[in-house]
Symmetry: C2
Amino acid sequence: MEEGVVIDHTILKVDSFLNHQLDISLLEEIGKEFYTYFKEKKITKIITIETSGIAFAVFVATYFGHIPVVFARKQESKINNKDCYSSKVYSFTKDKEYEVRIDKRFINAEDHVLFIDDFLANGQAILGLLEIAKQANATVEGVGIVIEKSFQNGRKRIEEKEVDLYSLARIKGFVNGKVVFVEE
Amino acid sequence: MEEGVVIDHTILKVDSFLNHQLDISLLEEIGKEFYTYFKEKKITKIITIETSGIAFAVFVATYFGHIPVVFARKQESKINNKDCYSSKVYSFTKDKEYEVRIDKRFINAEDHVLFIDDFLANGQAILGLLEIAKQANATVEGVGIVIEKSFQNGRKRIEEKEVDLYSLARIKGFVNGKVVFVEE
């Protein structure tokens, strides 16, 4: 509420604490909260996408007993790599397609994974990770999101896949440059 | 020694624990070790460059009492941004120039900064951060590197700037696909 800056009615800038400068106490609390919500599940690996998810994914992993974190790489779609699982992701913000990739050595059929990311809007990135998990025959135990733009359709698209989705902040919209949260 | 994979006599692949899959216990130990070495300095901020430095920079910051981490953004040089300090960096690995940037709100003359990064080779990225600190009139208290390729000239170039440089692993070279460390 205090530090998020609303730009153009659709973009929320959170670079003072979440994705340029990092508020470490907050990230640690974020890690703890995701652990509290998902702790009954037998999670073997935390998976995120570079860049902004890494900083709190490591704290989630710490609470789960120092399990590994894997961050998917974003790459241009042109280069083929048979050592990786990959999925095409379309970015509405940047209006371009890229690929998310995870090396086949780092996700497999024994894994029970929790996906973590900073923002959920149209859900493209998470759907890409779900596709990778499917290729690897890994079990997806849940998705943890810090900021959900509930006025976009990401939640709907993830819930259609019957995945447990937990968002810490759910934004209904922006009114006069202020964030309005979903009432729960 | 066990998990690093030597490629082409000059590249060390450490993606099973440092920059794709992350060994959280190791990252925590890395954070502790940098804290132990630099703890006498009055550090106000940990600064790294996206992407790989973020995962252990947050642990360094935790040990320093949850001080903020700022990660510099890499961008193409074309776009101007007067709200950021920036410096051009040439990547030998990728043979292209990019720019590292930090928003002017997140580094200033009151700051005493510690730079953290995963690899030191030619030192271009760190020299870029030193240039940004100079623009911001911030005090550089030191540089912490996880893996130093001591057969390249990064250390020399940073020491010429009279900056305290501490590397956890110093590699002399690669012999028959094995890592040989600098004897100290």
